[in-house]
């Protein structure tokens, strides 16, 4: 065999070994990866919960949703007919948006019958997360969120250029490639002195030089795709705008998509003024204030589930019953000023 062929074969073999290592050790890379890997177990867990006769609530969002939705506050709002508490599941990868959410839901619940889908879906969003946007990480989308049956559609229609499509395709085949950008921070944040401070300083300086994004016509086609893929009645879906340090409204296109499907959008928390102490890192809501927000949603859910049960009329088709507890007595009027 010629030497250079040996070089190429050895390189290919070495990369294969690294690929095996990266697949077996990817959960050690970051909590975000562990979370995304756990997403694949959610459908099975929902099936088990429903087999036990309990209700399941699926929260879709990102780290804002994780901070804002306190599971016991939401679960306490709804009780199953057998008296068991509802189970709350999360599809909330870091720094994700509608692309990841739509793809992940379609991957988790492709053709599941209604009985295997979550009983209630709570989509928790910031101002721009539901509007159509560019895919920021084709690698993450490909490796952890997109289902095989959606791969072609996503690759061809969601990604703007050939480069992104190549990255998407490669990440689908290789976890080594998909997670390649996680190694640098993992090492540098631990080993390079002052890296965190410097990286923030440098990135801030780079971003400050960029032009402000140009205002454009917003669309929400992928949000529509997500809603169409949910496969549960619209009364069992709630879209909630998460509190942020500033007031905002959801984009018109998003509201129109939701309205066209009779899905309720709760935007009061986003339209309210929250004290600055509610956001210790300037972005994510603190747990005690998240509890307040969750309670508001819980109250709302209770009212909507009650209405839904009445509307459906047949208690057998409705796994929920309304939990009347201390929570309801407290009401939802404790929004901080």
């Amino acid at each position: 065999m010629k030497p250079e062929i040996k070089v190429v074969i050895s390189l290919a073999f070495s990369l294969l070994v690294f690929e095996v290592l990266s697949r077996s050790g990817e959960s050690y890379l970051s909590a975000d990866v562990r979370q995304m890997l756990a997403q694949d177990e959610i459908p099975q867990k929902i099936r088990e919960v429903k087999r036990d006769g309990r209700a399941s609530i699926l929260v879709i969002g990102n780290s804002l949703a994780r901070a804002g939705i306190i599971p016991d506050e939401i679960a306490r709002s709804i009780r199953s007919p057998n008296g068991g508490t509802a189970e709350v599941f999360y599809i909330t990868p870091d720094a994700s948006g509608i692309n990841e959410w739509a793809a992940a839901y379609r991957r988790g619940f492709p053709d599941a019958p209604d009985t295997e889908r979550p009983d209630l879906v709570l989509i928790v969003t910031g101002p721009g997360h539901l509007a159509d946007q560019l895919v920021t990480s084709p690698e993450r989308l490909s490796a952890y969120h997109v289902a095989e049956h959606d791969r072609w559609e996503v690759g061809m229609n969601w990604l703007p250029g050939l480069g992104e499509r190549c990255r998407f395709a490669l990440a689908g085949a290789s976890r080594l490639f998909a997670n390649r950008e996680r190694v640098r921070p993992l090492l540098f944040y631990r080993l390079v002195p002052g890296y965190e401070v410097t990286a923030q300083r440098l990135n801030q300086s780079i971003n400050s030089g960029k032009d402000l994004p140009v205002e454009r016509d917003e669309s929400a086609e992928r949000f529509g795709l997500l809603l169409d893929s949910l496969g549960i009645p619209p009364e069992r879906v709630l879209i909630a705008a998460v509190p942020l340090p500033w007031q905002y409204e959801l984009p018109e296109a998003v509201l129109a998509e939701a309205s066209a499907r009779n899905i309720f959008v709760y935007g009061e928390a986003a339209a309210s003024t929250w004290p600055s102490v509610a956001f210790p890192d300037g972005y994510h809501i603190a747990p005690e204030f998240g509890r307040v927000f969750s309670r508001q949603l819980g109250d709302l859910l209770r009212r909507r589930v009650r209405a839904s049960g009445e509307a459906l009329g047949d208690p057998r088709s409705d796994p929920f019953s309304v939990a009347v507890d201390e929570n309801e007595k407290r009401g939802g009027g404790d929004l901080p000023q």
């Binding site: 070089v7 050939l162 190549c166 190694v183 080993l191 390079v192 401070v197 440098l202 780079i206």
Partner: protein, 541 residues
């Protein structure tokens, strides 16, 4: 995007920080026409026929632009297709196919500039034929002058028009006269400086009877537009590249594949790992206000830029030479470990070799070289380097950068006349060479400050801040650590090459050694590519 000329800066000086704007290749950009201007009719015509259509159909905005950076997937896919087809064709068909591929490659940047390259190609092809067709010196001179005038005229129009306009307006302003705004702005076609110089070298060589005129137009068109070296060199000579185009080339063999693989690997490493990571540090220092930084931070930024531009350009050249090897072409070496040069003259024998030899053969020697006494030699050196600086871009900072290098070369000549060549005298031994390398590197770095700075004032402010507040900061600690991490292995490898005086030393090592090194390169490319990729700097020149 600006619609008008910036009044205080040269519009075509483009450096990495401004790349995002510069990459928006919309060709002519129109502003409100100066009613009294002599180009009023042209401007009105253009506004009528371009802008209106543009508004109606989004024509200018919708021009396809898919630049194929050497570090992009699109380029490697394109290359894979080209190589697959290329090696199945005979020589004549290979040339036609390569020409087609090269025009496609160039058209992906901006297809409108294909007309410009086609015009240059056609004109120089026929000019060379006319030169060769006669023995009459006057006619020969007339045609070579025409070729020079057209080539340099196009280059001057696209590259220096804005610069001279700014300077003209500065003079008009000083005299209290009204500014002259032509109402349009020209965008620099990518790679124009490279292919113009390559075309000029052909007609000059035919005039000097160093090269026979090319018989086939398509061969000559391929010589001008051969895609691996089209947009950023190496600037090939007709007597080197043209015979390779005209004659059947060797089929790919194990040796060629090995050399190509080595060059591509090192090229990608230099660009993706070295240049882009150094750009992260350098862009911060050159983007900040000098008063915000202390002396060590500025020094670190200058070092980072020195290696950014080296990694960027040497990386591009290595990839260009490597992929050419896979097609049977041998392009000239463009960089030979320049930061191991022990004096300024040696630096220019190692840095951008294709340009420095071009300037030597077509500018320095015709000016008289070193044949007409010491005074004129010094003048010629400075003039050559100043024009070399101006070749890089239309801005005073580039002129000063060239001038500084001219001064270094003159000073070195003076030094060498009295004490012998810096760093090369055997009597001074290894220590002398190390001191020479260190001194040359810092002289080069000083010149890089002017090359990279936004203006002369900015460069001087940065140099002044070198003397302030030498204390450790987080940026210094991080920057020094990152530079050690990224540059340490590179410098160690180059030192190993340097001791063997062989750029291809690795190719001769055992295959397990090469595999280990390539695996290191691949893992570095995978895991340590910069968080903010930067475009190739020299594509703008």
């Amino acid at each position: 995007m600006n619609d008008t000329f910036p009044k205080d800066a040269c519009p075509v000086k483009v450096l990495p920080r401004e790349f995002s704007e510069a990459q928006d290749w919309t060709g002519l950009q129109f502003a409100a026409a100066d009613k009294g201007s002599p180009v009023k009719i042209l401007v009105e015509y253009c506004e009528k026929h371009f802008n209106r259509r543009n508004r109606k159909r989004g024509l200018l905005e919708s021009f396809p632009k898919w630049p194929m950076w050497f570090n992009s997937f699109s380029f490697w896919l394109f290359l894979a297709v080209v190589l697959l087809v290329y090696h199945r064709l005979g020589h004549r068909l290979q040339n036609r196919f390569l020409l087609l591929a090269s025009y496609f490659f160039y058209g992906c940047w901006d297809w409108r500039f294909l007309f410009l390259i086609l015009f240059t190609t056609t004109f120089d092809f026929f000019a060379a034929r006319c030169i060769a067709a006669t023995e009459d010196p006057a006619i020969r001179r007339r045609w070579v002058t025409a070729s020079l005038t057209v080539g340099l005229g196009i280059l001057g129009l696209f590259k220096y028009f804005g610069f001279f306009l700014v300077e003209l307006n500065r003079i008009l302003g000083t005299l209290g006269l009204e500014h002259w705004e032509p109402g349009f702005r020209l965008i620099l076609p990518v790679g124009i400086s490279f292919y113009t110089f390559q075309a000029l070298s052909y007609t000059i060589d035919v005039y000097r009877r160093r090269t026979d005129p090319c018989r086939h137009f398509l061969d000559f068109a391929l010589y001008i537009s051969f895609f691996p070296q089209l947009v950023a060199g190496p600037i090939e000579r007709s007597h080197h590249l043209l015979p390779q185009v005209e004659n059947p080339r060797p089929r790919i063999c194990e040796e060629r594949f090995r050399e190509g693989l080595y060059l591509v690997m090192t090229g990608l490493f230099l660009k993706v790992v070295i240049a882009d990571n150094m750009a992260w540090l350098a862009n911060f220092v050159f983007g900040a206000k000098p008063g915000e930084l202390n002396g060590i931070e500025v020094l670190l930024g200058i070092y980072a830029f020195a290696f950014q531009i080296y990694g960027d350009f040497a990386g591009y050249s290595a990839i260009a030479i490597g992929v050419s090897k896979w097609m049977g072409f041998d392009l000239m070496e463009n960089f030979r470990r320049p930061y191991f040069a022990a004096n300024p003259r040696e630096f220019w024998q190692r840095w951008h070799i294709s340009l420095s030899t071009w300037l030597r053969d077509y500018l320095y020697i015709p000016l008289g070289g070193n044949r007409e006494g010491e005074g004129k030699t010094r003048r010629n050196l400075i003039l050559t380097m100043v024009l070399g600086g101006l070749w890089h871009g239309a801005a005073w900072t580039f002129v000063i950068w060239g001038g500084i290098h001219g001064v270094w070369l003159v000073l070195q000549r003076v030094w060498a006349g009295r004490f012998g060549d810096l760093g090369q005298s055997r009597s001074r031994g290894r220590l002398g060479r190390i001191l020479g390398i260190a001194a040359t590197f810092h002289l080069v770095c000083l010149a890089w400050v002017f090359f990279r700075a936004d203006s002369l004032e900015h460069a001087l402010a940065l140099i002044a801040s070198l003397g302030t507040g030498w204390h450790l900061t987080d940026f210094v600690l991080t920057g020094a650590s990152l530079m050690s991490f990224f540059l340490g292995p590179l410098l160690f490898f180059e030192l190993w090459q340097e001791r063997r005086s062989d750029s291809f030393a690795l190719v001769g090592t055992s295959w397990p050694f090469r595999t280990t090194l390539y695996l290191y390169v691949i893992l570095m490319l995978l895991f340590f590519a910069s968080p903010t990729p930067v475009e190739f700097i020299y594509f703008q020149f």
